[in-house]
Chain length 392, copies 2
């Protein structure tokens, strides 16, 4: 299968590209490399240096050209394109590459970034919503049978007092019934941008008969995949800061650094989590079983639910096992979110397709812990405390 | 009350401005005058010439300065600003004018326009979604107590198989209940932009404690208000074309011109309708009873439901009474929409506040008919046939 990965420079986009290439798919990678600018704006750096995308692709292709000799199918192509700003270049890339599937990661991925100020809010929605519209336009323009696999987030749903289903909800109201898009109440301008995307995608399926899989992903954790381990310079970025770092990665980094884990509020907020190794497998499963033409398919991409406090305690236990003193601090919640809430989110669609989860065992936590420990000297403690406040 | 009207150059913004000024409110009008460009793009003109906004405000202020002598409160101020592109100018206008209420009409208002091509789609969502975000940012920046009255549309809901409530829905699912934002499945990129707005507005209320009234308006019809009748050059724009004309205005123009009424599909699509005189009264009611701080209040702003075929038959009957032969043609539906569907939309919030509807009587239809007839020589028949197809 020919797969074009939008946002292939990112934490998840890059490991996805390598994994799918290893599996025999012809992979193209598109990125505008804006993440480097966003990091610079907030003063954040990945925990270990990340080679340029050009260099990583060069290394990847060298490894694979040698390994497979005359079989170059595992090599990748790279395209620099801002999909939100340059629709016509995106058209050209798609016409040239002729993907069967487009995996769309190319969005500003941070809730705190989107909450920083007016500029970051408007930028996030402009970048994400218009970028996704351009992907739809490009598919309509080039070939309506291209399957779009779009990364959404479990945060789109918020924390409703009813079970979270996978994208759609059967509603009975005053004796009548309908199947509706699951009503969403997200918690940041970033999460809202993904809700807007989902509405736009569903409309395009309904009106044009295109095929979309919307993957509402949980909080991702982890550092390595089989492919990132092939060569140091194939590593993917790992953020531990309060803007771009996801919660578990952040806690582990704090444990390594020997500073208190910063639990926001009571820590009773519950979230769905997923190992980075499962993320890439979920993408593979979605690609290999395309949504039907005209279908807006939604799958919840996480494997386990935890409260933030449970995660902190798990990290604490592992740190103590590793011989480190680890305390946690509950700090005033910088976000506006429910802390005590019901949370029961369905996530059977991907397991039904064959996902066998990497669960959050102590061994998994310890692996990440050790990986972070190797780079302890790079940790900038100033970047871990939250500075962005939801309430202005 | 000091009321700033965004989009004050438009079909509804301008009559709203005059009406609220007459009622003793201090009115400021903001517009980027982009509607003139959109009209030029599609080759559409209002049925009668419309004075520039500057000229209309000059005439309005002259009338009111004379009438009220030393009491200048009925006069208006005008500001040219693109709210989607120039957030800081909007900040400055709001800081200077110090509104109690912002009435936000400043959006690209046409579904067919948004469906024309990729550029028009992306433009519509950029203009509408980012403009509304900037309004929120400006209120946060200037004064969180400013009440935002936002124009939405009944088209946001689509045609669910359950009753349409006013913005929120009590859901019971697997034995648990919650009050959720009413799930929406709109029918165009334009309607989607308003759905995105609603989600963004709700989040701002929830997070920042601001106050918003979202008015989901039905299809508006009519030409005059008491204020537009004061002087020919105070008239508001009247579009009858397939891009900017609403259905009833279009049918009446076709009847006057003696061409068949173009009913899309079977005409069994049902819509909520409202007289332009009720639109301005609804805005007044919303302004005078601000939403509570932190509340996202939604009201459905229409007064009667009709199928498109019922409207065509009503226009036909009135035309025949006026001595004209009037036929109707059902034409292939250019839109993607359900034609046979359940439709029962609640609209009690505004009547509870005191709205006494101007219903769609034959006399009302005949009044519009006569008004259009006066300008029959301006009708461009070529503009009435739909050219924009939803299915590409």
């Amino acid at each position: 299968m020919r797969i074009l990965i939008l946002g292939g420079d990112g934490y998840l986009g890059w490991p996805t590209a390598m994994y799918l290439a290893t599996k025999g798919h012809k992979v193209g990678v598109v990125d505008n490399l804006a993440k480097r600018k966003w990091e610079a704006e907030v003063g954040s750096s990945p925990l270990w240096p990340i080679s340029s995308l050009q260099e990583r692709i060069k290394i990847w292709n060298e490894i694979n050209e040698v390994e497979f000799q005359c079989n170059y199918q595992h090599t990748m192509e790279m395209f620099v394109c801002d999909i939100a700003e340059n629709r016509h270049l995106l058209y050209k890339i798609i016409e040239g590459f002729k993907p069967d599937t487009i995996v769309h990661y190319a969005e500003q991925p941070s809730a705190p970034y989107s909450q920083m100020d007016a500029q970051a809010c408007v930028y996030t929605q402009r970048n994400n919503v218009l970028g996704t519209l351009n992907v739809l336009m490009a598919v309509l323009h080039a070939d309506k049978s291209i399957h779009i696999v779009k990364l959404g987030t479990m945060g789109e749903y918020g924390t409703p007092n009813i079970d979270i289903e996978e994208g759609w909800l059967d509603v009975t109201h005053k004796g009548r019934t309908d199947k509706v898009l699951y009503p969403k109440k997200p918690g940041s301008w970033y999460h809202l941008s993904k809700v807007h995307d989902s509405h736009n995608l569903e409309f395009a399926c309904r009106t044009w008969g295109i095929r979309v899989t919307d993957l509402n992903q949980g909080v991702v954790y982890g550092t390595d995949t089989n492919e990132t381990l092939l060569n140091d310079r194939l590593a993917t970025s790992f953020h531990y800061d309060a803007i771009f770092g996801t919660v578990l990665n952040r806690f582990i980094t704090q444990a390594v650094e020997g500073v208190p884990l910063t639990v926001y509020g009571t820590g009773t907020q519950t979230r769905g989590l997923i190992n980075i190794r499962d993320t890439i497998r979920c993408i593979e499963l979605a690609c290999e079983t395309p949504a039907d033409a005209g279908t807006f398919r939604v799958m919840n991409q996480f494997t386990e639910q935890f409260s933030i406090m449970q995660l902190a305690k798990r990290v604490q236990a592992v740190a103590i096992k590793a011989g480190v003193i680890c305390v946690m601090n509950t700090i005033p919640n910088p976000r506006v979110e429910k802390e005590n809430h019901y949370y029961n989110a369905k996530h059977t669609a991907l397991t039904n397709l064959g996902l066998i989860p990497h669960l959050l065992t102590d061994d998994v936590l310890l692996d990440i812990y050790k990986q972070v420990e190797k780079h302890k000297s790079n940790i900038n403690k100033d970047m871990i405390q939250p500075t962005v406040k939801w309430r202005q």
